[in-house]
Each structure stands twice: as structure tokens, then as C-alpha cells.
């Protein structure tokens, strides 16, 4: 339970919040509305950035492929021959406490590894499609987290603190960079079916203005509730909203410019535009069959189709200038996320089946369209899994060493960094903390993580708090 973090800040609504609005229309919105000119416009011309980047950014956008529940590193991207050799034997290292405290024998990976590409980096049989993109990946094999439990580890991964209530990294990035799109929120979570443990607090704006919190789009159509205009005639709603704006302005003239009211007005403009932008976005208008196929949208397996659709929507969001996109995992019958406490083989096979081709499709498509260089793709779960079994055939949580990878956005290509021990248990070489990952991501986006701050409670708050080192070895 996360109640120890019972200090929840009530929202602030300051004038500057509107000015600094994440959604890119800022202070001009009101006047534009009153003039009834900008309605429905979808140009990206007047997107405003709150803060100029501290230095020239390598990446402009982020797609975070969140691997819900934690993927086993020794079954995906870090082969451990010794583990295979000692399969079934008592585990050779001291075991740290585990979530379920039901530790069994050493468990070798059920999957074979293959070397791919010019780099010759290995990927397991779980990820053959992603394997073929290996020369674009920058694999970190020495990731560590501080938490052994999903909620806390998720909050930590998403917000830099193992409790709820902090701004999500997506909120920070959007706060820093603003949005290039007037019609869509700057921070979008593409909900493939599973909301991560910890819920919406993983995607909140914390003490940052509310407008930086994520909006959720589901894979079904419509992607968003109430996104289809009620009025059958196109002009009817437009007339209404024009009237609304004028009357609101008249009331505001009397009451003075209250921030919360102004923010609410701005909200309508975004909502109005989303009515067009979201269906256009998620309807996949203009995508060819070949593209859809690339993402696995023709797969027999429904979770693959769902995840493929969301990956394709992610690319479309990137094209539309949305800053930060997180894709959650699809729901898979009979399997609880990647959280393979039992029957590892079935669990990871099905999760990989759902995500492998769509992810590879996304990487290839981004590359083909020249978008990969400016888009940082992150593949990560909240922790890894134990090299010893939980019970007979599962793996428990392991924050002591696990694998994540990045691609595009200025990271090295076909590169592997760090290592765990011979069993794949604990990071032993070039340990990378979550704070380091955050610092590095912000760096790629053009920010010094120690300078991207927001004053709150008398302190300049940071995503990385007082921690974090940029891992320059990962950067081109």
C-alpha cells in the first residue's frame, strides 16, 4: 500500500500554467478563441516551448515501450550459459529476499539465443523480430532498481520516486519541451489493455501543472470517451463553442482573469480539436496494408494486433509532434503481464508473441521514415527476474540487475553496456540506476537534468531529485 505517501498536493492553477501550457497553445489561446479564428486549426506553427533546451537535443520525442511486470533479462537479451549449465541445481549465490519468498533451484533459460546483425549481439528466441533490429539497439544489461514490488518500482521507473504523487517523466519532458501539436495532449498513454500497477499515478503531473498529465487513448474505437461530437451538423457545435467563448470572456471580464477558469477555457479548445484529431489519429487514415502488416496488425493473435495498432498510433503521434508516448502492454488471457511467477515459458512466450513483431515494425518504420534519429525509443520494465526459480518454473522479481534497451534519439547503435554476474542475478559491471537512465534520457532531449526544475514547496524539484548521472557511454 502506498498510503505512507499521504501528502497529496492539491492542484495549483496559476496564470503561468496557462502560459506554459503543455499543449502548445498557451496564452494566445484565449485571444485566438475570442477572435474565432483558430478554431479547428491544426497547424503546429505556434507551438510554444516553456524552456529552451539547455543544449542541442538529439531526440525530440520519446516512445516508452513499457514492459509491464518485468521481463527476465536472461531470457531476452543477456544469455547466461552458466545458468543453463546449472539448471535444476541449487542456486550458486546468496539469494536476496524475494517478493514471494518461494525460491527454488537455478533455472536456465528455456530459450536459445541467436546472434544478429553486424554487431552480433544476441537476442533470445523470444524476440526474433526485434533481434533483426539489434544493430539499432543500445542495450543496457546492468540496470538496477531499488524496489522489489510492482507499485513502488513502477512509480520509481516512471517518476523517480518509489511513492505516488511525483510528476511522471512524460510530464517532465512535456513541461520542458512543450508540444508541437495544438490538437493533441503532449503526453499520451496508449492503453493496450493493461494499466500498470500503481495506476494513473504513474502518469500524473504531480506538482507540475495539471495540463502535463497524460491522456489515455485505448485501442478500440473511439479511442476516447465523448470524443465524437454530439451535434450531427458540423456547424452546430462550432456555433455553440463560439458562443461559449464569447460568454466566458464576458464573465471573465467581470471576475478578473482567474487562472483556473482560463485553464478550463483552454481545455475546451484542446477538447474541440481532439474531436477531429483523435479519430483521425487512431483511425489510421492513410496507412497502407503493407505498413499495418509491418506492425503485425494482420496477425492471428489478437494481442499482437492490438499492440501493433498502438505502436503504429505511436508513430503517428510522433509525426504529429506529440512529445512523450507510453504504450502499455496488451491483456493476455491467462497470463498476468510479464510477471512470470509461474510457468515462465508460457508467460514470456505469449507476451513476446504480442510485442515482438509490433516493436520491430515500429523500429523499422521509424527508421524508414527518418524518424528514428529524433525519436528515443525505450524498452523497459520496472525490474527484471530472478535466475533461480520461483517454485518450480517461475521467476520472481529482481531489481538487482536487469536489461533495458533504447534505440534512436542519439544513443549508440548495436551496442551493449554493462553486465550482470554469471547467473544474470546482479549488475556487476557499469551499474545503471533508474536516476541515471532518467538523466541520460533528459540529456538526449537537450536538458541538463540538474537544471530542469520546478519550484515547489520552497525547493527546486527535479525528476532525478539529488541523484543521477548521465551515462555518456551510451550516447553517440
Amino acid at each position: 500500500m502506498a498510503h505512507c505517501n499521504n501528502y497529496r498536493q492539491c492542484s495549483l492553477s496559476r496564470r503561468e500554467m496557462l502560459r506554459q501550457c503543455a499543449n502548445g497553445f498557451g496564452a494566445v489561446a484565449l485571444s485566438a478563441l475570442l477572435a474565432d479564428k483558430a478554431f479547428g486549426a491544426s497547424t503546429a506553427a505556434d507551438g510554444q516551448n516553456l524552456l529552451a533546451p539547455h543544449f542541442s537535443p538529439k531526440a525530440k520525442n520519446v516512445i516508452f515501450l513499457y514492459m509491464d511486470g518485468g521481463v527476465a533479462q536472461m531470457d531476452s537479451f543477456e544469455p547466461k550459459p552458466r545458468l543453463t549449465k546449472e539448471d535444476g541445481k541449487p542456486f550458486g549465490m546468496e539469494m536476496e529476499p524475494t517478493q514471494f519468498d518461494n525460491n527454488g533451484a537455478t533455472l536456465g533459460s528455456p530459450w536459445e539465443f541467436h546472434q544478429y546483425g553486424e554487431s552480433g549481439l544476441p537476442a533470445s528466441g523470444l524476440y526474433p523480430h526485434v533481434g533483426r533490429c539489434i544493430d539499432d539497439l543500445c542495450i543496457v544489461r546492468s540496470m538496477v532498481s531499488q524496489f522489489n514490488e510492482h507499485n513502488q518500482a513502477n512509480y520509481f521507473l516512471h517518476t523517480g520516486l518509489g511513492l505516488s504523487g511525483r510528476p511522471s517523466i512524460g510530464a517532465w519532458v512535456t513541461y520542458g519541451l512543450g508540444s508541437e501539436n495544438q490538437n493533441l495532449p503532449g503526453f499520451v498513454v496508449l492503453d493496450s489493455g493493461l494499466i500498470p500497477s500503481g495506476g494513473a499515478d504513474n502518469f500524473g503531473s504531480g506538482f507540475l501543472p495539471q495540463s502535463y498529465q497524460a491522456s489515455f487513448f485505448r485501442a478500440d474505437q473511439p479511442a476516447l470517451a465523448n470524443v465524437n461530437p454530439y451535434e450531427p451538423a458540423p456547424g452546430a457545435q462550432r456555433n455553440k463553442l463560439a458562443l461559449m467563448n464569447d460568454l466566458d470572456a464576458m464573465a471573465l471580464a467581470q471576475a478578473g482573469a482567474h487562472d483556473a477558469m482560463e485553464s478550463a477555457i483552454a481545455n475546451y479548445e484542446l477538447a474541440f480539436r481532439m474531436q477531429t484529431a483523435v479519430p483521425e489519429l487512431t483511425g489510421l487514415d492513410g496507412e497502407t496494408d503493407a505498413t499495418k502488416k509491418l506492425y503485425g496488425m494482420d496477425a492471428d493473435y489478437e494481442p499482437t494486433r492490438i499492440y501493433g495498432r498502438q505502436c503504429l498510433v505511436a508513430r503517428r503521434l510522433i509525426e504529429r509532434g506529440v512529445r512523450f508516448i507510453e504504450i502499455t502492454c496488451p491483456r493476455i488471457d491467462g497470463v498476468d503481464r510479464w510477471d512470470a511467477h509461474g510457468d515462465l515459458r508460457r508467460n514470456h512466450s505469449l507476451n513476446a508473441k504480442a510485442t515482438d513483431q509490433p516493436i520491430a515494425g515500429l523500429l523499422m518504420d521509424l527508421k524508414a521514415r527518418g524518424l528514428l534519429d529524433e525519436t528515443l525509443v525505450l524498452w523497459a520494465g520496472e525490474f527484471g527476474r530472478t535466475p533461480f526459480a520461483q517454485g518450480r518454473d517461475g521467476r520472481d522479481h529482481n531489481p538487482h540487475g536487469f536489461t533495458i534497451w533504447m534505440a534512436g534519439g542519439g544513443v549508440k547503435r548495436g551496442f551493449a553496456y554493462g553486465a550482470t554476474d554469471e547467473y544474470g542475478y546482479k549488475a556487476v559491471e557499469n551499474r545503471v540506476e533508474i536516476h541515471d537512465l532518467h538523466a541520460t534520457m533528459l540529456h538526449l532531449l537537450g536538458f541538463d537534468h540538474t537544471q530542469l526544475t520546478f519550484r515547489y514547496s520552497g525547493r527546486d524539484m527535479r525528476l532525478t531529485d539529488v541523484h543521477g548521472n548521465v551515462i555518456y557511454d551510451l550516447i553517440v
Partner: protein, 1046 residues
């Protein structure tokens, strides 16, 4: 969380002191040889890494016998000479899945044998110095923390400060506010106009907008008392309670389902909501409200509902059980600990503004609250249990029960007289016959005294001929213990609720109007007629056997084993399949057994609930715990076939005396049915009439009302759970309130759960928290922000009060004025502070006080989702003002899919009831309420967020409910008389308590013309076009002025 010990701020350096210690026992050389050869190497190789000089996992070191004997978090690791009760041995034997050491794999058998032998030998260890060291424990100085933090200090009675602008500061409260304003070189904003004030008062006090009529009357009323009269009118409105109750429902995480995977219902939850509404409407003193929440079931003189006379106070206790719950907790003990954690969390935040649950795993990181304080509270809850209380509207059930009892007494007397008449001619004194009979045929009674002895219980106890020496073929072998046979004449610690079980088990000469004579010693729920309902609960016990056998008769009545408070067996059998039996044998007594899956609950605390909650009944004769298989079924207690009248009369005498067997009773009933008692003389006929009388009375008795509530369980003190783990019990903490509130020397709880004492101690005048926290909440709801802006956390991590003296002043006033919420509200809204305008009239002040902390003007506030919805219904004229009762089912949209989607679709308009009456399903919360920040019902949420997300705009633009209400409103206006402008004004008065301004009229007129041409309407048609006016109304819903209160 991970290993925080290493990062403790004031960790001491581990410094090793070598102490020359003498071993407590002398050891022979040979023994020491054995130790050095067979034991020490095993320990060193397998244990010292984690339990040695460097690490002490679980606080345990195994590198010296003194340290081994002292043990770790779980107590001593060995008991000298006794391997079987040594945890070290238990751990290495791998028999306990929660305690298997070493974790890397089981030791070799011969190693285990050596360690066992060593312990059996008395654990010889050579004389060695004992390594000692201070461990890295954070120092926790509760008293220092209590003294250094403002919230724990007594409420002062500060005099109102001097101010310059005495004309403005007409009340003491205004003076406190003004003093701060003046100190910050600010001046208060002018008073808001009357239209603003009436709208503000309406929303703040009753959560709805004023009608046009009310607005005009208030504006026209030139009297200086007009404002005050309006305040009093609103405080007296029944809608007042609806508004303020919802705010407390945020605190007590009100919900009607348990959430989690299955989202099972929390039955009768809505009565708690109605309780709150009535309590606020009746201005029940707030200390009484707190007392009722904590111990409403225990009050010597509870409040009663004025309309039906039912116990009102008990309803408050339902809040304890509005936690989430999961249907299949693998660790049932931990599951209960988690529920209690939520109960403590909610109780302590709601009433104390303290986060006591943060001290579950360790002493509080910041506040003056220790882990012992937490478990001192936990004991109150483990000494209590959930119930669905039986309420008796207008005492009708009680009355019927008394009348039936009188008729029954008549019947019993009648039957008894018949027996005595016959016995006079008998030579044997009845006593001797009885003694023989009882000795021969009641082995069960002997067993109870014998405890676990292997015995033979004759299953066929028919008549007085059966003896233990000559058992019948259908005998029941029970290697176990009789837990209860209800033979003491009382319920023997069991607790009966409702009216079915009466005050005691059946006794000598008990007559059941439905069936006839019954034996003594039955816990019987049908003696007043089968329709009466009630529950009989056992004391708590520890499960030590695999099976529970219950000899019972009856129909459609359940006996449940409640393990560690787990209550969802009614819905899901996954892990608790074997914890329930149901009667179905009618008058025949049979053994019903709980056999399946009980073994896994061994060691758990449990109790039995005999639940007659319908027109069924049950008569329980005996309850046995055993490890045996299912007993033979079907033959016990069958009617005897004795035919001679002496035998029947003997049975009658035994019945009167209380020693009748099941067979005796069956025999008598059979004879009675045939009217062939030895001395019938019309007895059967007259009894039949009395039976009929009982049935007639019973038929007039209403069914009980049920309410979610708490009740007493067997008292128990909780041990500290080391690191929050219930499997690692530490020191037992007597039930008490936190030391920072009640002091270190509290009188022990002498009887019962102690919740009444809990309430008394928390409400003691020396505790500043309840009054401060409550006064701050009331302030917050009227001014948009608490004097303490973190209303649920007055601790170190909360924010300090902006006006500490004012907070104390109003807390004092509140307490001194009988904790009256209404008078507190009245006091606050009568201030000039409250009456200021919210307009940003002075830009300079906005710069100086951007967050308006000092209240230089009133705060502009966005309405809650409930108030927005209620306002729509009000202005549309569709509001259904019906109060109270079961909730309106949730309307499900296509976006509300997933597991356990409710089968019943609720109406889109929620039957136009106020939002407080809409069902709160944890897994299917209203999207509109969620978008407008109604909190998730997880824990206390005293200050709602006011987020600004596109979903809000999309709802107001496109949601079907909003459109529906706009249509209704538009239709209403279209059907009225009047010009366009008059209609516009009417709309504005409805929505904003003011007429439209000229520019607004012109702009609206322009819109109407636009829409007219869009729809191709003539000017005349337009005036009466519902479509067109609905468009106007829809736009008004989307105006910021509609959802904000100035």
C-alpha cells in the same frame, strides 16, 4: 521497501565490544568435541554469511550460543534441550514453507540430525567471548517529536488580535484574518453582491444552485437580517445533509463494492450514507459522530431513528468495513492485517489528521507515532468483527417475540402439567431414573470434560436404552474435542444478534411451537417461528484441527467459519470452500462437517457464525473439532420407537428435567402429533392452538432491517508485526491510543474490545486533534482551502497552518459550542471574510498574495462533479428530490468494460436523483465523477483535486447525460411564455443567479439567429423550439460560470 536500516540517518557505527562472557552451562569435553566436529562447521559454512558478524538477517546472529539463545526478530533460535521447539531446527528441517533455511537448499540429512542432536544435548558451546555490537537502529524519540511539532500541542484560547480596520472586522474570526492581511499589507476585498452571495451559500451549504425565485426574494429583501435568515434557511434544508455527508464519504472511502478482481458488493453500505445525511441534518454533535463511528454498537444509550426507532448510532460503525477486499487471499492472516491497516489509516486520517498507518512496518519516519502505537490500535480491531446488524423498525419484531415467548411459556406449562399428572403413580423417584438415563446416554457431556481423549460417542442415542458399553453399529468415533454443546444453560460466551436465537439455548421443558418438545441444550433459531432471523457467533478460537463437525437440524441455515475476519465466502469458494455448512435435514439431527481445506488455516484465529438470515432455522446440538473423516450420516437422532406409555412418560420427565435426548424429543413429538400422549387430556389440541397463535403473531412480525456494522469479538492484544509482517510477532502491545495522545501509562482495557474507551480517550479534552481537524475541514469546505492545507495530515509532512491562532480559536469555539457543525458553519459564513468578493479587484494584491493564502479576497472554486451534475438536474427541472434508500445502479458506458461488469444497466439520468444516491462501484466508478475529481475510494481524501483535463470539456460538450439534461432544460424554457430576452434572463437566473447583461443578451440573440437559420426556423417557431433552446442551455452548461463558484 528495501533495506533501510543501512541508510538510517542516525545509524551508529557498528562497534564491537568484546565481553568476556561465561557460558550459562558447563559442557563436557565430549560434547564440545561433537560441537566442533559436527556442528560449528555446518553453521559456519551455511549460516554465518547472513547471520554472523557482517550481516544479521532478521536480527539474528548464530556465531555464539548466547546470541543464538537471544535470537532475532522471531525470538530465540533454540530452546536448549528441545529441538522440536527450536526455530533453528524448524528452519533447517524445511517443514515450514515460511521458514526454510538455508535458503539456497536444504542441508544434508546427517547435518540436520547433528544439529538436532546438538540442541538436544543442551547446545554445548565452548567458553568464548560474546561478540556484541550496537546495531544500526535509528533512534526514535517520541516525546521529543511530540513536543516539537505544533499539531500535538494543546488548543490555545488566543485572544483575537488587534486590527486597524475595526469597522470591517465585525467578528473575532474576521480579526484573525484581517490581522494577517494587515501584516502583509493587504486589505480585504469588498463584499460580494447578493446574487453572488446567495449562489455561494447555496452551493456551499446544500450543493445546489438557488432557484430564480429564491434569488429574487433575497435580492429584494432589504432587511439587514436577510443574509442571516438565508443562512438559517439553508442550514435547515434537508439538502444540507446531502451536501455535507458526501464530504465525509470522501474521508471514509465510501463504496458499495469491495473492488479488486471481483468487485463483490458491500451489502447495506448505503445505510451508512443515510446515517451521515441524517447526522448532519440533525446537527448531531461532532464528538458524538466520532464516538458513533468508533463504537456506535456499544453505546449504553444509542440514538434512535426518530421515524422507526431503530438504533441509529450503530450505523456509523459501517465505515470500518468499507475497505477493499479480495476474494482469495493466499495469506489470510496478512489479508486481515492489510484490512486493519486500511481501517486504521482511514480512522486516523479522518478524525485525527494523522498518518498512523505509516507506523505499521516501523516507527513513523516523521511523526510522534511508534509501531507500538499502531499495534495498540490494531488490537481494538482484532477484538472486533464485522456484522450485518439486525434492526427492528418500531420494535415490532421485539414485540412479536415477547408475545410468542408468552404463548410458548403457556404451552410449556401445559405440557409439563400433563407429565406430572402421570408420574405421581410411579414408584421410582424421577431423579434416579434421570440419573441413570443421563449417565448412560449422554457421552457427549462427558467428552466435553475429557477433552482430547479417544472416546466413543454413540450416534444412535434413541431412547434410554443405549449405553456406551454397547454401542450401536452407527457409532461415531471422534478423536477430538467437543467445542460446544450448549449444555450450560447459557450461550457460554457466544453472542446472539437478531431475534431468532432468543437469550439462551433450549432448556428443560422447552417447547417449539413449530414442532413440539425439544431437548435442552440446543442453540435453536426456530423456537419463535421459522421466520425470525438472527446470528449466533462463537468466541474467537485458534484453529487446531482439520475438521469441524456440527450436529444440527434445520433448513436453509448456514454455519460459517470466519477465519481471520475473511467474509467473502458468500461470493467465492476458491480458498474457503470448506468453511460453511447448511442445514437441510428438517427435524432430523445429522452431523454436518467442515472437512475441506481447513488444515491450511491451522493456527489462524477464527470464530463460528450460525446464520439464520431467512425463513430457515437451525438447532445446533453439538460442535466438535477433530482430525477425523466425515462422521456417519443420517441415523443420529432418529425417532425412537418405544411404544409403552411409561417410556413415553419417562421421556416427558427427562424433557422437563433437561436431560431428554434427541430421540426422547422425537418420540414426544410423534406422540403429540398423534394426540397419543399417555395423559393427553386435550393437551395436543390445546398446544396446536397455541402453535397457531404463535404462527399468527410471527406472520405479523416484519423482516429485520440489516446494516453493515462492527461488533465485539473476543478481546485480544496484538503483537507488533516486525517489519509489518504478521508472521513475525514481536512484543504484545496492550490496546491503547497512541502515546502522544493518551500518554505512556494508560489504564488497561478491562473488558470487551475497548472501542468505547478508544473513543473516550481520543475525545479527551487533552487531545487537540479531533476538534482541530474537524474545524479545519469545515473551514476548508467554505473557503476552498484549509487553514492547514493538508486536512488529512497534520503531521510533519503536512503543511503547517497559515493562521495557527485562528485554527485554535475556531477549534475552541467548536468544542465549547457542543461540537455543533451547523453552528460552526453559521459562525464562519456570517463573517465578512466569507462575504468578500472573489473578483480579482486588486492586481497588486494578486502579485503579493498569488495563492491567496491570506484571503485577501474570496477564493474562486470549481464545483465538484456531484454539484455540477446536481446543478444540471436542478436547472433542467428534472431533479428527483427523493432522499435516502438503496443506491441507483451505475449507468455503464461502452468504455466501462472488463471483468465483472455489472449485469444491471443503470439509468442514464440516474433516476434524476442527487449524485450522492448514485451507486459507488469501485471497479465501475462514474466517468463523469472521475473526470471531475471525485476521489477513488481507497483511503481518506479530505481535499479533492481540481484537475483540468480535456475529458471534462469533452463530457460537457458531448456526454449523453449532459445533452439529455440540456434538452430537458431547453424544453422547459421553450414551453414558457415570454420574449427571447425574458427567456434568456430566466435561464441566466436559473444557472447563475443573475440576469444576463446587455452584451450577453445581444450575443445570445445572435446565436439564436444562427441556430434558427441552421435549423430553418421562422422567428416565431424559434421562440418555442425546444431544439434551439436546448442548444442555448447546452452552451450554458459549458460556461465556466456554471462550474465555478465565485
Amino acid at each position: 521497501m528495501g533495506n533501510h536500516a543501512g541508510s538510517a540517518p542516525r545509524a551508529h557505527l557498528l562497534c564491537w565490544l568484546v565481553v568476556a562472557g561465561l557460558c550459562a552451562h558447563a559442557a563436557a569435553d565430549a560434547d564440545l568435541d561433537f560441537f566442533e566436529r559436527e556442528v560449528r562447521p555446518v553453521l559456519a559454512e551455511n549460516c554465518f554469511t547472513c547471520h554472523g558478524a557482517e550481516k544479521q538477517r532478521a536480527g539474528l546472529r548464530l556465531d555464539h550460543i548466547e546470541l543464538i539463545r537471544t535470537g532475532g526478530d522471531n525470538g530465540p533460535a533454540v530452546e536448549l534441550g528441545n529441538p522440536d521447539s527450536s526455530r533453528l531446527i524448524e528452519a533447517i528441517e524445511y517443514g515450514n514453507v515460511d521458514l526454510q533455511m538455508p535458503p539456497t537448499g536444504k542441508l544434508a540429512d546427517e547435518q540436520i540430525a547433528a544439529l538436532k542432536q546438538w540442541v538436544a544435548m543442551g547446545a554445548p558451546w565452548p567458553e568464548e567471548p560474546v561478540p556484541t555490537g550496537e546495531t544500526s537502529e535509528e533512534t526514535f524519540d517520541l516525546e521529543a517529536r511530540r513536543q516539537s511539532h505544533w499539531a500535538w500541542q494543546p488548543i490555545q484560547a488566543p485572544p483575537p488580535p488587534p486590527v486597524n480596520n475595526t469597522e470591517w472586522a465585525t467578528t473575532d474570526i474576521d480579526r484573525f484574518i484581517l490581522a494577517k492581511l494587515e501584516a502583509n499589507e493587504l486589505t480585504p476585498a469588498p463584499q460580494a453582491d447578493r446574487r453572488t452571495l446567495i449562489r455561494r451559500l447555496y452551493f456551499d451549504l446544500i450543493g445546489m444552485p438557488p432557484t430564480a425565485k429564491a434569488v429574487e426574494a433575497f435580492v429584494a429583501d432589504a432587511s439587514p437580517e436577510a443574509y442571516e435568515r438565508l443562512v438559517d434557511e439553508l442550514l435547515a434544508s434537508p439538502h444540507f445533509g446531502e451536501r455535507w455527508a458526501r464530504r465525509w464519504m470522501d474521508l471514509t472511502r465510501y463504496a458499495e463494492t469491495y473492488g479488486h478482481e471481483q468487485d463483490y458488493p458491500i451489502e447495506h453500505a448505503w445505510r451508512y450514507r443515510d446515517y451521515l445525511i441524517r447526522a448532519f441534518n440533525d446537527d448531531v454533535p461532532y464528538d458524538q459522530i466520532i464516538r458513533e463511528h468508533l463504537a456506535g454498537d456499544l453505546l449504553p444509550s444509542p440514538r434512535v431513528n426518530p421515524t422507526d426507532g431503530t438504533n441509529e448510532s450503530i450505523l456509523a460503525t459501517g465505515f470500518w468495513y468499507m475497505h477493499q477486499a479480495t476474494h482469495a487471499p493466499v495469506d489470510v492472516r496478512k489479508d486481515e492485517a492489510d484490512r486493519i491497516d486500511n481501517q486504521i489509516d482511514v480512522m486516523s486520517k479522518t478524525f485525527l489528521g494523522m498518518t498512523i498507518s505509516c507506523a505499521r512496518c516501523h516507527d513513523h519516519k516523521f511523526d510522534a507515532i511508534s509501531a507500538k502505537d499502531y499495534f495498540g490500535l490494531s488490537g481494538f480491531l482484532r477484538s472486533s468483527r464485522q456484522q450485518f446488524a439486525f434492526l427492528d423498525p418500531n420494535g415490532k419484531i421485539e414485540e412479536a417475540a415477547r408475545r410468542i415467548d408468552a404463548v410458548r411459556a403457556e404451552g410449556e406449562e401445559l405440557l409439563a402439567t400433563a407429565a406430572l399428572a402421570k408420574s405421581e403413580g410411579d414408584n421410582d423417584p424421577p431423579e434416579s431414573r434421570l440419573a441413570d438415563g443421563a449417565g448412560a446416554i449422554r457421552p457427549a457431556m462427558l467428552l466435553a470434560a475429557d477433552g482430547h481423549a479417544q472416546v466413543v460417542l454413540t450416534a444412535n442415542e434413541a431412547g434410554g436404552n443405549a449405553t456406551a458399553a454397547a454401542p450401536k453399529p452407527n457409532e461415531l468415533k471422534v478423536d477430538g474435542t467437543c467445542y460446544e454443546n450448549f449444555d450450560t444453560g447459557t450461550f457460554n460466551g457466544w453472542t446472539a444478534t437478531g431475534h431468532a436465537f432468543g437469550g439462551a439455548p433450549s432448556g428443560p421443558g422447552t417447547w417449539d411451537p413449530c414442532s413440539g418438545p425439544v431437548k435442552a441444550g440446543l442453540a435453536h433459531s426456530g423456537l419463535r417461528g421459522r421466520a425470525f432471523q438472527g446470528v449466533l457467533r462463537s468466541p474467537a478460537f485458534t484453529i487446531e484441527h482439520d475438521q469441524i463437525h456440527i450436529r444440527c437440524a434445520g433448513e436453509k441455515t448456514k454455519v460459517k467459519l470466519i477465519v481471520e475476519g475473511y467474509q467473502l465466502r458468500d461470493y467465492n469458494a476458491l480458498l474457503f470452500d470448506g468453511t460453511v455448512i447448511e442445514t437441510d435435514s428438517g427435524d432430523e439431527f445429522v452431523w454436518k462437517s467442515m472437512t475441506k481445506g481447513l488444515a491450511k488455516f491451522k493456527g489462524c484465529r477464527a470464530y463460528l457464525e450460525i446464520r439464520d438470515e431467512s425463513d430457515g432455522w437451525i438447532a445446533v446440538d453439538a460442535i466438535w473439532f477433530s482430525n477425523h473423516d466425515l462422521p456417519p450420516q443420517g441415523t443420529e437422532g432418529t425417532a425412537a420407537t418405544a411404544t409403552d406409555d411409561d417410556a413415553v412418560n419417562d421421556a416427558l420427565l427427562r424433557w422437563q428435567d433437561g436431560s431428554a435426548t434427541i430421540g426422547d424429543a422425537a418420540l414426544l413429538r410423534a406422540r403429540l402429533r398423534e394426540s397419543s400422549l399417555p395423559n393427553d387430556a386435550g393437551v395436543a389440541r390445546r398446544l396446536a392452538k397455541l402453535s397457531n397463535d404463535c404462527a399468527t403473531i410471527a406472520a405479523q412480525s416484519p423482516a429485520p432491517m440489516r446494516a453493515l456494522a462492527i461488533m465485539e469479538n473476543s478481546p485480544i492484544d496484538e503483537p507488533v508485526h516486525i517489519r509489518g509482517n504478521p508472521k513475525m510477532p514481536g512484543d504484545v502491545v496492550p490496546r491503547r491510543v497512541p502515546v502522544a495522545i493518551g500518554g505512556a501509562d494508560q489504564v488497561p482495557i478491562s473488558s470487551g474490545s475497548g472501542r468505547l474507551e478508544l473513543a473516550d480517550r481520543l475525545l479527551d479534552d487533552s487531545n487537540p486533534l479531533p476538534a482541530r481537524v474537524a474545524a479545519n475541514r469545515i473551514w476548508q469546505h467554505l473557503f476552498g482551502r484549509g487553514i492547514v492545507p493538508t486536512p488529512d495530515n497534520f503531521g510533519v509532512l503536512g503543511q503547517p497552518p497559515s493562521h495557527p491562532e485562528l485554527l485554535d480559536y475556531i477549534a475552541n469555539e467548536f468544542r465549547d459550542d457542543g461540537w455543533s457543525v451547523k453552528r460552526m458553519i453559521r459562525r464562519l459564513v456570517m463573517t465578512n471574510t466569507y462575504r468578500m468578493t472573489s473578483d480579482r479587484v486588486n492586481p497588486e494584491f494578486e502579485e503579493k498574495d498569488p495563492a491567496n493564502v491570506w484571503l485577501h479576497r474570496m477564493r474562486m472554486r470549481r464545483l465538484e462533479g456531484e454539484a455540477i451534475r446536481d446543478a444540471m438536474l436542478t436547472v433542467a427541472g428534472t431533479l428527483n428530490p427523493q432522499m435516502y434508500g438503496e443506491s441507483v445502479p451505475t449507468h455503464l458506458t461502452e468504455f466501462m468494460g472488463g471483468h465483472r461488469r455489472p449485469k444491471q444497466q443503470g439509468p442514464l439520468d440516474g433516476d434524476c436523483r442527487r449524485s450522492i444516491y448514485l451507486e459507488v462501484r469501485r471497479n465501475y466508478l462514474s466517468p463523469m465523477m472521475l473526470a471531475f475529481d471525485t476521489p477513488l475510494p481507497d483511503s481518506t481524501f479530505g481535499q479533492r483535486n481540481t484537475s483540468n483535463v480535456p475529458a471534462q470539456a469533452l463530457i460537457l460538450m458531448n456526454d449523453a447525460f449532459v445533452v439529455q439534461q440540456a434538452k430537458a432544460w431547453g424544453e422547459r424554457i421553450a414551453a414558457q411564455d415570454g420574449s427571447i430576452y425574458e427567456r434568456i434572463d430566466a435561464l441566466y437566473l436559473d444557472a447563475f443567479a443573475r440576469p444576463a447583461t446587455d452584451v450577453e443578451r445581444v450575443r445570445l440573440r445572435q446565436f439564436i439567429d444562427e441556430q434558427r437559420s441552421l435549423y430553418g426556423l421562422s422567428r416565431e417557431d424559434a421562440l418555442e423550439s425546444p431544439t434551439l433552446w436546448s442548444d442555448v442551455c447546452h452552451v450554458l452548461f459549458t460556461l465556466k460560470e456554471f462550474v465555478f463558484v465565485g
